[in-house]
């Protein structure tokens, strides 16, 4: 196993940590956004939907460029952060999490929104009429009925963050152990003509991504909720 011994696995663990934190925080933030989008009749809905979907169409470098400016020590968010913590957001793990959250936002919000829309108002009205508060109806009726949406959201958010490159490069740079994630490590190996290492890491990412998606689709098919 001399081959695997030559691989630096630090970027792999860093990437998993980044994807995990991003997916987790996005679930907390994305759920209320998706809920609002699914049930609102506000004219702002289309605007918010478009903003949420922007990362799907923008080149990651554009997103990364603006984020770099916003998160940098002279940017509005970056300056606030420096004032609060004394450290810079750009080229840090926290900055990377913020960037990844924006980058993966549609992958979390859209499945959740779709799931809540599939639930619709009718079961909620039934729950309210049975004495449930809005919160109780959300927790005990809408969420279990939207379980597939939650699974898809977490897994897609996680998997999409695993593979990000452009945004990370712009915002995080390439600091080993801090911001050097898997995709950047692969890029470095290719640049250095270290094809063996690039092969191992790329194949790992390919297989892991396939397995994750296969699991999602299988689980989704078997979840014990029949909505019709």
């Amino acid at each position: 196993m001399s081959l695997l011994a030559t691989i630096d696995w630090t970027p792999v663990w860093l990437t998993l940590r980044l994807a995990g934190v991003t997916a987790g925080v996005l679930l907390l933030i994305g759920t209320p956004i998706a809920w609002w989008l699914a049930y609102t009749t506000s004219a702002w809905k289309t605007v918010v939907e478009a903003v949420v979907a922007l990362p799907l169409v923008l080149p990651p470098t554009v997103l990364g460029f603006y984020l770099l400016i916003a998160l940098g020590p002279e940017g509005p968010i970056g300056r606030l952060w420096v004032g609060l913590t004394g450290s810079s957001l750009a080229f840090s793990f926290t900055g990377l999490v913020i960037a990844s959250m924006l980058y993966s936002l549609p992958f979390v919000v859209q499945p959740l929104q779709g799931a809540f829309e599939a639930v619709g108002r009718k079961p909620l009205e039934a729950a309210w009429s049975l004495g449930a508060s809005k919160l109780k109806a959300f927790v005990t009726v809408a969420s279990p009925m939207a379980l597939r949406g939650y699974v898809s959201a977490v897994v897609l958010g996680f998997a999409h963050t695993l593979g990000e490159f452009g945004v990370v490069l712009m915002v995080g740079g390439n600091i080993p152990g801090v911001t050097k994630v898997l995709s950047i490590a692969i890029y470095d190996h290719v640049e250095a003509l270290e094809y063996t290492q690039a092969h191992v890491l790329s194949a790992s990412l390919l297989i892991a991504s396939f397995l994750i998606l296969a699991v999602v689709y299988t689980v989704n098919r078997r979840l014990p909720v029949h909505v019709s």
């Binding site: 009205e125 039934a126 729950a127 309210w128 049975l130 004495g131 508060s133 909720v225 029949h226 019709s228």
Partner: protein, 365 residues
Amino acid sequence: MKTLGIQLDVRYPQFRLAVELDLPLQGVTALFGPSGSGKTTLLRCIAGLERASTGVIRFGETLWQDEAQRVFLPVSKRAIGYVFQEPRLFPHLSVRGNLRYGYTAVAASARNVTFDQVVDILDIHDLLDRRPHQLSGGEQQRVAIGRALLRSPDLLLMDEPLSSLDAARKRDILPFIQRLDTDLHIPIVYVSHSIQEILQLASTLVVLQNGRVVRMGSLSDVLAHPDSRQFIEESHLGAVIETTIEAHDREFGLTQLAFPGGKLFVPYQARPVGARLRVHILARDVSLVTSPPTFHSSVLNILDATVKAIGPVDPAHPFVDIRLDIGCPLLATITRKSLVALGLAPGQRVFAQIKAVALCQDIVE
């Protein structure tokens, strides 16, 4: 008696609902009218599922809504049970889980029904461990009714609960709804566009048209009103009479019914003597003669009657409705020509010949 006071004005782009009502909190009150008349909107306003821009809803002494005072009690705080057109069972819960959803949220001391009582009345014991998708439509709707009842409501709101079911399922469920009124004494507001369901269930009838209340009163008062023709189809117009089975005539295959105004013969009913039957006597099946029939008539039911009121005479229309008193109200439809020929006037004594008696219990579309 406690009442449900409602004053509402709700505007939608194509539609306005403006009503003022005092509904009895007793028995079954039916909201009747064609589609688009505002029945469902009114029911949703009572529940708090829709919010009228101008409105007051008072349940007995409790204020549920008063927009002038910025009072609006959310659905969950109103002591109602709501049965929707579709069962709306929670797919992720078993039947038992569905039934317990509202039940466990009510303190044991505040419950007005027990779990077993409701399961018995609705006969759903064998379904408890199943999932909603494993039930038939009729079974699902029974569970939905049970779920609403177990919330211990002070008022049960039902929005065409039978409309998605076929005739056989309707026949199965109607008796269960009747038992809610007779056994549990929960007042019910029942939305329907089916006169058959209303004839079988309702004690009070509210007729809606284009978002307005055009008639309200006891079932028989409204259906036997001499001026209801413009709101009630001719095939529904006529008195509703509560009767008791007095005797059976097996030789001729007839059953004799007693009611406050006398007796009626109907085809044999396989029900015991003493059983109560609600009958509907269509106005068009009643004809009038001014002198007692001295010759034999093939009409079995001929009743002594007094003319109480004569409906509006419309030159564009050949018919007019006559309200009679036979010990209870009765309505007869005659031609304008006959009205003139007989010279009818209020207070006059006549004889009503009843050609057919419809039994409400047996009517299912």
